[in-house]
């Protein structure tokens, strides 16, 4: 009998504590997450007439009933410049979601009307508005800028293969990325890799950011007309501090890019039509002589002394037929606005 009572008490206790649960639920409601989409607050824009040249920003605000993938598209009605901002949330907060007047890629916005569109993934709702840009954003506020508007940079050295055909290593004004001028780099050297380069001295001693936070931005112009499929640009950055920029005047290039020096490289294949702005973290550059034990590749932005932009293409002639299909084709890798920025690339400044 005693055993039966104990067993009954034990089982009753188990039933009691088995039913010991809590009301409510953890996390967002599934009924809302997977239910119908509803707008709680409409799209509002904090400034419909922004002056981006004064560093004004435009904030966006909107609220809906569930987290969704959303996209704000901004299209310049004159320039066709575009900017997209995407996110996943149930709130677009104007304190966090801001536009500084930059596009995602060239062309840049100018003083123009822009169409704004807010769309949601897997939902048919689209919210629209417009803004008018009073003054467009400028891109001259990097820690170092070379825009070629005043001709070739002071103390800069241009060198190209004089035996090539149609060599264009000079300042031009016909279609700059921004401002008035740009630097043309191109021509035809079928038998060798290098067409030419421009070496520019630079000092950014006052920059104290690590290499991960220094960005090298560069506008590059090409075209697809009879495209040389093996053309590319090499950016070389030298941290050689013991040798003068032009140590040997008889040498028609800077003396800071020798293989025995602390030099870093980034290769950019060029295969597009028109201008494109490319941005790279300095930390993504690679040492040109990584196996040289005498060089300390410690990558310190404040030690940067020079930059070389080099136009190259794979050889195609019979004597050196690495890419024979490109024989006789002109190379075009024009450049404009070499801008060094800190903490973010040129579009996010």
């Amino acid at each position: 009998m005693k055993i039966k009572i104990k067993l009954t008490i034990f089982l009753s206790l188990l039933c009691l504590i088995y039913s010991c649960t809590k009301k409510g639920f953890e996390g967002p409601s599934i009924e809302i997450l997977y239910g119908d989409f509803e707008l709680i607050e409409p799209l509002t824009i904090t400034n419909k007439n922004p002056s981006f040249s004064n560093n004004t920003q435009v904030g966006f605000h909107c609220e809906f009933n569930k987290p969704v993938q959303w996209k704000i598209s901004i299209i310049g009605l004159n320039t066709n410049a575009t900017k997209e901002i995407i996110g996943f949330s149930n709130l677009i907060d104007s304190n966090l979601i801001k536009w500084n007047g930059s596009p995602n890629q060239v062309p840049f916005f100018s003083e123009e009307f822009c169409a704004i569109e807010l769309t949601f993934e897997n939902e048919i709702d689209t919210l629209r508005d417009t803004i008018s840009i009073v003054s467009s954003k400028t891109y001259e506020n990097g820690v170092w800028v070379e825009n070629f508007d005043d001709g070739l940079p002071e103390n800069g050295i241009v060198h190209y293969n004089n035996d090539g055909g149609g060599m264009t290593f000079s300042i031009a004004n016909d279609e700059p990325l921004l401002g008035d001028s740009y630097f043309k780099m191109g021509g035809r050297v079928n038998w060798d890799w290098s067409l030419g380069n421009i070496d520019i001295p630079l000092e950014i001693n006052n920059v104290s950011v690590p290499s991960e936070n220094l960005y090298i931005n560069l506008g590059i112009l090409s075209d697809l007309q009879d495209l040389h499929t093996g053309q590319f640009i090499n950016i070389l950055i030298s941290e050689e501090t013991n040798t003068p920029f032009d140590d040997n005047p008889n040498n028609n290039a800077s003396d800071l890019f020798e293989s025995t020096m602390e030099v870093y490289k980034m290769k950019i294949p060029v295969d597009w039509n028109g201008w494109k702005v490319k941005s790279f973290k300095y930390s993504d550059f690679e040492p040109i002589s990584p196996n040289n034990p005498d060089i300390n590749f410690n990558m310190n932005p404040s030690d940067i002394r020079a930059i070389r932009i080099s136009c190259q293409a794979c050889p195609s002639s019979v004597g050196n037929p690495i890419c024979p299909e490109n024989f006789g084709k002109d190379v075009r890798t024009d450049i404009d606005h070499i801008v060094l920025t800190t903490n973010s690339n040129i579009f996010e400044q």
Partner: protein, 582 residues
């Protein structure tokens, strides 16, 4: 020629005489260790279309873990494990690793306090510090065991302990009245060191400290208490936000025996807190906390065991609060934030290959050695009922574990049953109900039929059912089953033929929980599951001694998905392992 031979004799003579003298005069130094050679060749099944991946790949290595034990004095031992590893295909030192894998010192101070410094292997209760077995482990067969042994060895998984680095000390007292004895144990470890995020920002150290007290009150009653705290000392980094996760645990263990059986009853409870401390804020703002949660747990376990070990039964009830957080007990071995190391992508679209049970059982990349301060993600296909072991939060229910065998161990059977439900719903007021059923039967035909050579067969099965009611949007129903059949036959002395078949099925729908950096749920991803996996394997094992064996196995494995977006895959593997425990 004669001169060369003489020279060789002299060199060998000198070398061996030195070794002999050395071993005789250094009795305080002794060695042991492990040596292993591993070679695997994987191939895409010829029926699969994947022209972007290599048709077959091979890899392997040989290694020696040399353990050196030095006893400079009687009560001190210094232990170091030196690893020499050479990947196949490496020449002239490239690909060769030499590193110190373990280093520790332990001893006894004044015959009273025992201490260990360096690499420690720590375990407390199942709710404070416990390294739970990975899913899919239970009742594994002899063809999967070599992988299991390697993965456990490489990740220092021994006796459900976590390998940590720090300091441990323990001591005990004996009494002649009121209580019989008191045991104390304390430790301080550092699971993660400070690391640099950028030039000016450093993360803080993570420290894990704790202590245990065990008191034998009388012959039948034992009281124990555990405390553990995972925390970040703010001063070790530059971030002004740091975690605190203390857990308190007490238990009463009562046992008695009759002529033929034992009864053991255990009552265990405790609670946890977890929050992030914001300190040293700008403008003189005082310290504050955020994301603060508290939770408790309770477990009552009753165990009946026959004294002749033929039957044991365990029946219990467990409640774990949704907000119970214990980093030391809820960190998972399997970390799904990885991709396969063998054929990481597949198909001509180079899709990332989802892992199969074979990957999870054989690929070391999926295994974790670091204590996690927040709940790690899990895959409900493979473990949905208790993904964090007994310490899984938001569970209450009953369980039954049984083991039976006859005296001669001709038959061995095990069964585990668990019926659990959520304490609070996730994303809906409706709560999930979970059912777990595991069974295992091994028949030793050699003992049954009095054969001189070993012959055994076993079969195991594990099923999980997760069900939730509610509307069309929130209801769910997920079923998974893992069945394994295996035969092990000794052909001639110490040479075994082995064959096994693993089948895994999962069907239904679930919501995968997503959490933010502070462990709060911020989304549920709806998933539809319908997949079937297989691993067929056959091979030979030659066992020179208990701890020296060679395996040569061949595996056919793959997955059939019935739901998009995945494509099916099939692979084969040839495996050779030579393992020697010195």
């Amino acid at each position: 020629m004669k001169r060369n031979l003489l020279l060789l004799k002299i060199i060998f003579g000198i070398l061996f005489s030195n070794l002999s003298i050395y071993s005789q005069t250094n009795e305080n130094i002794w060695f042991d260790g492990v040596s292993r050679a591993y070679f695997a060749r994987d191939a895409i099944n010829k029926n699969i279309t994947d022209t972007l991946s290599a048709r077959n790949v091979s890899n392997g290595y040989s290694l020696l873990d040399l353990n050196t034990h030095v006893n400079p004095i009687k009560d001190i031992e210094i232990f170091t494990q030196l690893r020499l590893k050479n990947s196949f295909g490496s020449f002239f030192g490239s690909g060769t690793e030499v590193n110190v894998r373990q280093l520790s010192a332990k001893g006894v101070i004044n015959n009273k306090i025992r201490f260990s410094v360096g690499d420690l292997f720590l375990k407390q209760s199942k709710f404070t510090l416990y390294n739970y077995d990975e899913e899919l482990l239970s009742y594994e067969n002899d063809l999967i065991r070599p992988y299991r042994d390697i993965i456990h060895y490489e990740n220092f998984y021994t006796e459900n302990r976590w390998r940590l680095q720090g300091l441990q000390a323990d001591f005990s007292y004996e009494f002649d009245r009121y209580i019989r004895g008191l045991d104390f144990d304390f430790f301080v470890t550092r699971p993660r060191g400070s690391s640099q995020i950028n030039e000016t920002t450093y993360t803080s150290d993570i420290l894990l400290s704790g202590g245990s007290i065990i008191s034998q009150i009388n012959k039948q009653l034992i009281f124990s208490g555990n405390y553990i705290n995972l925390f970040e000392p703010g001063s070790s980094g530059t971030k002004n936000i740091s975690i605190r996760n203390p857990v308190h645990d007490i238990s009463l263990h009562y046992s008695f025996d009759k002529e033929k059986y034992y009864i053991q009853q255990k009552l265990q409870t405790g609670f946890s807190k977890r929050f992030w401390l914001h300190s040293e804020l700008d403008n003189g703002i005082s310290d504050s906390t955020s994301n603060r949660i508290k939770g408790m747990y309770f477990e009552l376990d009753n165990k009946y065991s026959m004294k002749d070990s033929t039957l044991s039964l365990s029946l219990g009830y467990r409640y774990v609060d949704p907000n119970f957080r214990s980093a030391g007990a809820q960190t998972r071995r399997l970390d799904y934030n990885n991709i396969n190391s063998i054929y990481p992508s597949y198909t001509n679209m180079s899709l990332i290959r989802p892992p199969s049970i074979f990957d999870l059982l054989s690929d070391n990349i999926w295994y974790n050695q670091e204590i996690s301060s927040t709940l790690m993600i899990f895959n409900p296909i493979y473990s949905n009922v208790l993904p964090y072991g007994d310490a899984t939060p938001n569970r209450l229910g009953i369980y039954l574990n049984a083991k039976a065998n006859n005296i001669n161990k001709q038959f061995i059977a095990k069964i585990n049953i668990g019926l659990f439900r959520e304490v609070i719903g996730q994303g809906t007021n409706y709560k999930r109900n979970f059912s777990l059923l595991k069974g295992f039967l091994k028949v030793n035909f050699d003992k049954l039929l009095n054969l001189s050579k070993e012959l055994s067969f076993y079969i195991s099965s594990k099923s999980e059912i997760s069900v939730r009611g509610g509307g069309e949007l929130s209801s769910l129903n997920l079923f998974s089953n893992h069945t394994n059949a295996s035969v092990n036959a000794e052909l001639v002395n110490n040479l075994f033929f082995q064959s096994s078949y693993n089948m895994f099925l999962a069907n239904g729908n679930e919501f995968i929980t997503q959490r933010n950096n502070y462990g709060n749920i911020n989304y549920f991803t709806k998933t539809q599951i319908n997949q079937k996996e297989h691993v067929f394997s056959t091979g030979m094992m030659y066992k020179l001694r208990k701890n020296i064996y060679a395996n040569l196995n061949y595996y056919w494995w793959g997955i059939n998905f019935s739901e998009l977006p995945y494509d099916d895959y099939k692979y084969n593997r040839l495996l050779l392992i030579l393992s020697v425990e010195l």
